[in-house]
């Protein structure tokens, strides 16, 4: 069972930045991102999230997002997807970074979730 990370933000540049930050600590963890709307604007898109889910080579995904509608669209993608996706209501950058570092170290999901708990902000 392999675990990967999915980053969803209203802004494409934010997702790229978070991915860049994560890759420093977790070069081997599969990370895919969905940022902005289909036409490149600010917002989130179910289609883009579904593409990022499909593109991620992990079997299960830990998902991190920024504002409210990103969560709603993530939940829709979650319902449409066969791949298990776990959503965390934590600070986007700190949460994704923590999960990535732990995944790189081979830590299990239950333990990662324990460490994510103090980062819950929404």
């Amino acid at each position: 069972m392999s675990l990967g990370i999915l980053i969803v933000s209203h802004v494409a540049d934010i997702t790229v930045g978070v991915q860049k930050l994560i890759s420093q600590t977790a070069a081997q963890v599969p990370v895919t991102v969905a940022g902005g709307t289909d036409d490149g604007g600010v917002g989130t898109s179910v289609d883009k999230i579904q593409q990022a889910v499909a593109a991620n080579k992990a079997d299960e995904l830990l998902a991190f997002y920024d504002l409210g509608s990103a969560k709603m669209n993530l939940e829709m993608a979650q319902e449409f997807s066969n791949k298990p996706i776990y959503l965390y209501d934590v600070a986007l950058i700190e949460g994704a970074y923590t999960a990535a570092a732990l995944l790189q170290a081979g830590v299990e999901r239950s333990e990662i979730e324990k460490q994510l708990r103090p980062l819950k902000i929404k």
């Binding site: 179910v46 669209n73 829709m76």
Partner: protein, 195 residues
């Protein structure tokens, strides 16, 4: 009070036209308390609904509701796409069991509440959907119910959604999602489904 393929198509054609006509106003409502894109986002969805209904030509109510839902989900983006999309998706599911309007609207409301984790009094579209469902279930849905529900959002303080970030400053503004939901139910009543 039952939805049929025919009145549902009329309903959505009416809604799509109103959204196109009111998109600037809806975005204007969304500017002081949101991100100013509600009208344009919904207008994109309205155009997508028209295109999808033209292309797929649904032959029953469930197929029509599902086509509408997927157009909203994939083209509107943001919270309103997920919320309206979920509402129509849940109505599509329920329409396999019943075509009764109160049941379908209740399923739509339940979908919105689940997706948005929202309840009444938070200055959202739920504040229009909930009284409309209650009135429909009592056989008392009319234009006054819709108008009063929309107007009531003006004095509420937002505690859900983007408007909650401006806190007390949200008081005095109509909620854009409530206004667009008001248009949805106004167009529904125009089809004569309540008669």
């Amino acid at each position: 009070m039952a939805l049929t393929l025919e009145n549902t198509l009329n309903w959505l054609h009416g809604f799509d036209q109103v959204i196109e006509a009111k998109k600037a106003y809806l975005s204007q409502l969304d500017t002081p308390i949101g991100d100013g894109d509600h009208g344009n986002n919904l207008a994109r969805g309205a155009a997508a609904i028209e295109a999808a209904l033209e292309k797929n030509k649904p032959t029953d109510l469930t197929a029509a509701l599902k086509t509408i839902a997927m157009a909203l989900v994939s083209k509107v983006g943001g919270a309103s796409g997920a919320l309206y999309g979920t509402a129509f998706l849940e109505m599509a599911k329920t329409s396999q069991k019943t075509q009764a309007l109160p049941d379908l609207l209740a399923a739509g409301l339940a979908g919105i509440q689940k997706r948005g984790s929202a309840t009444t009094g938070e200055k959202t579209m739920v504040d229009v959907w909930a009284p409309v469902v209650t009135a429909a279930q009592a056989g008392e849905l009319d234009q006054a119910v819709v108008d009063q529900a929309v107007q009531a959002t003006k004095e509420m303080q937002a505690t859900k959604g983007r408007a909650s970030y401006v806190g007390e400053k949200s008081v005095g503004h109509l909620d854009p999602g409530a206004v667009s939901s008001g248009y949805l139910f106004t167009e529904l009543l125009k089809t004569g489904v309540d008669k």
